[in-house]
Amino acid sequence: MASIALNLKTFVGLRPASPENNPITTLAKPSSTTTAARKQLRINAAKTSPKVTGRNLRVAVVGGGPAGGSAAETLAKGGIETFLIERKLDNCKPCGGAIPLCMVGEFDLPLDIIDRRVTKMKMISPSNVAVDIGQTLKPHEYIGMVRREVLDAYLRDRAATAGATVINGLFLKMEMPSSKTAPYCLHYTDYKAKTRVSGEKKTLEVDAVIGADGANSRIAKSINAGDYEYAIAFQERVKIPDEKMKYYEDLAEMYVGDDVSPDFYGWVFPKCDHVAIGTGTVTHKPDIKKFQLATRLRARDKIAGGKIIRVEAHPIPEHPRPRRLLDRAALVGDAAGYVTKCSGEGIYFAAKSGRMCAEAIVEGSENGKRMVEEGDLRKYLEKWDKTYWPTYKVLDVLQKLFYRSNPAREAFVEMCADEYVQKMTFDSYLYKKVAPGNPIEDLKLAVNTIGSLVRANALRREMDKLSV
């Protein structure tokens, strides 16, 4: 009983200690006086959690993509009995496939996983002004293009080597625990069991659950996480002749314009031996095919003679779900909605959030010796929000500013020609840190941005006069 009371206190203690970036949260309980006591309570919480006797903590990771794979590996390495449930082990995910440089180092990825190293990008404005960016990259810097099936399989295998049990099955539903120490009961269809063609229904009892099952997460539904707005990304894989492929050897293109997408961009990304041409939108989803045609038109000369070998589409979350955590079940990756605006990048954030959540569980349970509780998992949310909030906010501001209209996009492409912009962009993208930069250069940049925006909008007014 005493432990439960103490646990309640830590809950209360956590709220005022939440990071400064939520001024809107109404703090019902004051308590800024007992910081020392609160800190002590927080540490004590884990120590007074009931000890898990006779076995290690059991955690299920539902979903075997980058988020699930890295979470399972971290959990297994931390001494926790881990179950990784994935429904399709050879799933070829429709995805841009771009990973930043820091991911290779942070996740110890072998270099042969990376099909291509993109070191140049071309931004093409609505009026086809083309700007090359990438001159500021150092020789060892690049954006890695990977095949998702290769990356996902590698991370999963590494988790299995670390001790996780990989289950080839489809998660069906989850029963919430009846008390703080009762287990979660997961129902899934096991495909490996050869008894029936459609797989065998099984159940699994675990103490905590990490939902890494992607944009249409069922775990999210089970914990009533709420919905998010999402973009539709539509992509065609096109095999183009070798001479044309040489142009895309290490170059990716981004097309902006109202014809290509009203709120996103169209892209041509090189893959292992073909290119992926696609576009996306949030607000005009029914018109996605029209946008795809326009993207192909803009890239027509460069992909002429190409053959479409695959067509795919997938949803991209636009913002985190209203609830990312309930009791001892947490969401990571696309299931939580950790995709950035403006660039739509998700692989790195999925893997990193999986790892962070797993680390929080390992720490809160003292390597699997104790039961975890919601407070321990909240620590992962705290750390995540504090570390990556600036990145997300900056990209949101950029999207709102520069993807708004054609003049804004023209200004955007003009700004990209500036070397300082390129350096800042790549530094933040490759290393996932909002680089501080030089204040004088920042001022010049601000002035130039305003100038570009003003000029582009002035030209737009002229254009409107022409149509009248």
Binding site: S18, N21, I24, L297, K302, R455, A458, L466
Partner: protein, 260 residues
């Protein structure tokens, strides 16, 4: 069928009003590659807005192409449903002509040739601005493929800052200053008649200075009636993303009360 269609030579950038059909046919082949769905392809880039001769011809060509493409598309769909997922080989020798690329004698090598904009020995920047606006308008209605052989390198910053100010800022500044002056004169008169305080004494009063500030900001920010709504929406928009991120923390208060 596709091979026979490429008998017409790869077109240059000149519009070809004399042979709309051959252009249409080459476009059909392109359509064969691109569109494989039965849905009607609306000619969304067909506008007949300005009376320029080349534009209207292009419009006609586009309409022909789009109408003919619709019949072609239904044939294609049957063909491709037999084959695999829309993979159609297009003759690699094909260089389908762009419908009509943007054409202007002063547009050379992907940028405006400033020597052709001379007026009285100086560059006529207003004409450059007009020309660029026309080009962008054309491209908005007829999106073109971005070609590496003819890269577009025009940068609007070559037009000097004073040309922009003279053309866009000054008229608006005149308008806003006029409004501010009218409001100022009227308010000064009203306050004077109501309180007897003259203009110079009004300026010494803090309340009056605040009113002046509000009036200036109001004139700057609110140009049309719609601007009031726009400003309100902007404020909400700037904090919306933050609210979405903090939603999970708000939830903590309700979940903790539900727990025990």
């Amino acid at each position: 069928m596709s091979i026979a269609l490429f008998s017409s030579p790869p077109a240059t950038h000149l519009p070809s009003p004399s042979s709309p059909h051959s252009t249409a046919k080459t476009q059909l082949a392109l359509r064969h590659f691109i569109s494989w769905r039965p849905k009607k392809q609306p000619p969304f880039w067909v506008f007949a807005e300005n009376g320029a001769g080349s534009t209207s011809t292009a419009a006609i060509v586009e309409e022909d192409k789009a109408a003919a493409a619709e019949e072609k598309v239904s044939e294609d769909k049957k063909e491709e449903s037999l084959g695999s997922n829309g993979s159609v080989a297009v003759d690699a020798a094909a260089a389908p002509a762009p419908v009509t690329a943007f054409q202007d004698p002063r547009w050379i090598g992907g940028t405006w040739d400033l020597t052709q904009f001379q007026k009285d020995g100086k560059t006529d920047w207003d004409a450059v601005i007009d020309a660029e606006a026309r080009r962008r308008k054309w491209l908005q209605d007829n999106p073109e493929s971005s070609n590496n052989d003819n890269p577009i390198v025009f940068d609007t910053s070559i037009i000097p800052w004073w040309a922009w100010i003279k053309r866009y800022h000054l008229p608006e500044a005149e308008l806003l200053n006029g409004r501010a002056a009218m409001i100022g004169f009227f308010m000064a008169y009203v306050v004077d008649s109501l309180t007897g305080v003259g203009l110079v004494d009004q300026m010494g009063n803090f309340f009056c200075k605040t009113l002046l500030f509000v009036a200036v900001v109001g004139v700057l920010v609110i140009r049309k009636n719609e601007d009031i709504e726009t400003v309100k929406k902007l404020l909400e928009e700037s904090t919306f993303y933050d609210k979405q991120w903090q939603a999970t923390w708000q939830d903590e208060t309700s979940s903790s009360s539900m727990k025990d």
